[in-house]
Amino acid sequence: MTKQEWPLWEVFIRAKQGLNHKHVGSIHAADVDMAIENARDVYTRRMEGVSIWVVESKYVHANEPSEQDALFEPANDKIYRHPTFYVLPEELNHM
């Protein structure tokens, strides 16, 4: 076994110009150049992308899943943020 495993990187791919980068998975690589090349070989063998982002996994921070209800609670009861909350006459058709 190697003494030290190659770091883990999260891979984000832009499928085509105009779209955002989307998380597709992860890979191991010794450095950023290798991470991009490995990401290309693993995740874009069939032209799935025009741009790659790699971020070392240790730099990704996330909320606690167990506290997710409390975190998203403020949006729960604000139905007035949705267009359907407003009652308008039928004749108006498409507003």
Partner: protein
């Protein structure tokens, strides 16, 4: 507390809400998934060996690039699956250590030898065909990272099966000797392929729990029957005979009846006594050990570059 969490967990599963890496999950769910996903990853990696055997001897360039691309896909599938398994808290090196020490299993089918070029056809057609049958329902597995990896795998797998069938078709439309070669490959790969679905339902003790957790959606026997039902007409189209004298259409059931499976052979190969078990494992261990200096050198190089960059920043 634990009971309540487990109840909530099962409710999520029942409502088809996917489980993500940092969500609470029963320890046994984590272990079951880790075992299944890492075994699946190992199977993709070991699965490169029987076909790798024929890359340099492919009959022409078209066949060669296709086979090369297929084997490269398998490496990719192994990598998708290893990363999915890593989200459950085991490192890549630990998984490889389990494979290399023989504690982890991989699909037994890869312990059979590839004796002729026709085996490339039979593997693509039958082995990848059986794998697709198994894998399509896994795209809806309850664990998010596994399901997402399987979606990618399944998208790529269909080319594998088609290239295999095309090899068989070409051989079957060729000379007598070529057709005989195709028949011989079918004879050798048929039974191992239908064993790929695992033991009969009565002998598959963990299946019920996996179904309840929606890791598994169909039983081994259901999938095996489905595979046989779609494969028999494909063999007929090739003009080949499936090596099972009990194989017969059952109009009443709407399925093919088939002969008894030799489970002793299956258990024997699983136990490590198949024709190629030792050879396959040795190839993996050698690749890992002979590559150690490359992995270490890459790390040393990355570290040196990083240090040089930091020095430049300090100097500036």
């Amino acid at each position: 507390m634990e009971v309540k969490l487990e109840q909530q967990f099962q409710e999520k599963i029942d409502q088809e809400i996917r489980i993500e890496p940092r969500d609470w999950m029963p320890e046994k769910y984590r272990k079951t998934l880790l075992r299944q996903i890492s075994q699946h990853a190992h199977s993709e990696i070991v699965g490169m060996l029987p076909e790798g055997n024929w890359i340099t001897r492919a009959p022409n360039l078209r066949r060669k690039v296709a086979l090369l691309a297929k084997v490269q896909d398998e490496a990719g599938h192994g990598l998708y699956l290893y990363s999915a398994a890593e989200t459950l808290g085991m490192s890549r090196d630990e998984m490889l250590e389990e494979l290399h020490s023989g504690r982890a299993k991989y699909s037994s089918i890869f312990n059979y030898p590839t004796l002729t070029w026709a085996d490339m056809g039979a593997i693509g057609w039958l082995v990848d065909g059986a794998a697709i049958m198994n894998q399509v329902p896994l795209c809806r597995a309850s664990y998010g990272p596994y399901a997402r990896a399987m979606v990618r795998v399944c998208k790529e797998e269909s080319f594998h099966q088609r290239q295999g069938y095309e090899i068989m078709l070409t051989l079957c439309n060729g000379t007598e000797a070529q057709k005989a070669m195709a028949q011989d490959a079918l004879n050798r790969w048929w039974w191992p392929s239908i064993m790929m679905f695992g033991p009969n339902d009565d002998n598959s003790p963990n299946s019920a729990q996996s179904m309840k957790w929606k890791i598994k959606r169909f039983s081994n026997d259901e999938l095996r029957q489905k595979f046989i039902d779609v494969t028999v007409p494909q063999a007929e189209l090739l003009g080949l005979t499936i090596p099972d004298k009990d194989l017969k259409w059952n109009a009443e059931k709407g399925h093919y009846d088939f002969g008894a499976i030799n489970w002793d052979e299956f258990m024997n190969v699983v136990a490590g006594n198949g024709p190629c078990n030792k050879q396959r494992l040795k190839a993996r261990v050698d690749a890992w050990e002979n590559g150690a200096w490359v992995r270490e050198a890459a790390m040393a190089h990355a570290k040196k570059r990083e240090e040089r960059k930091n020095k430049q920043i300090e100097a500036a």
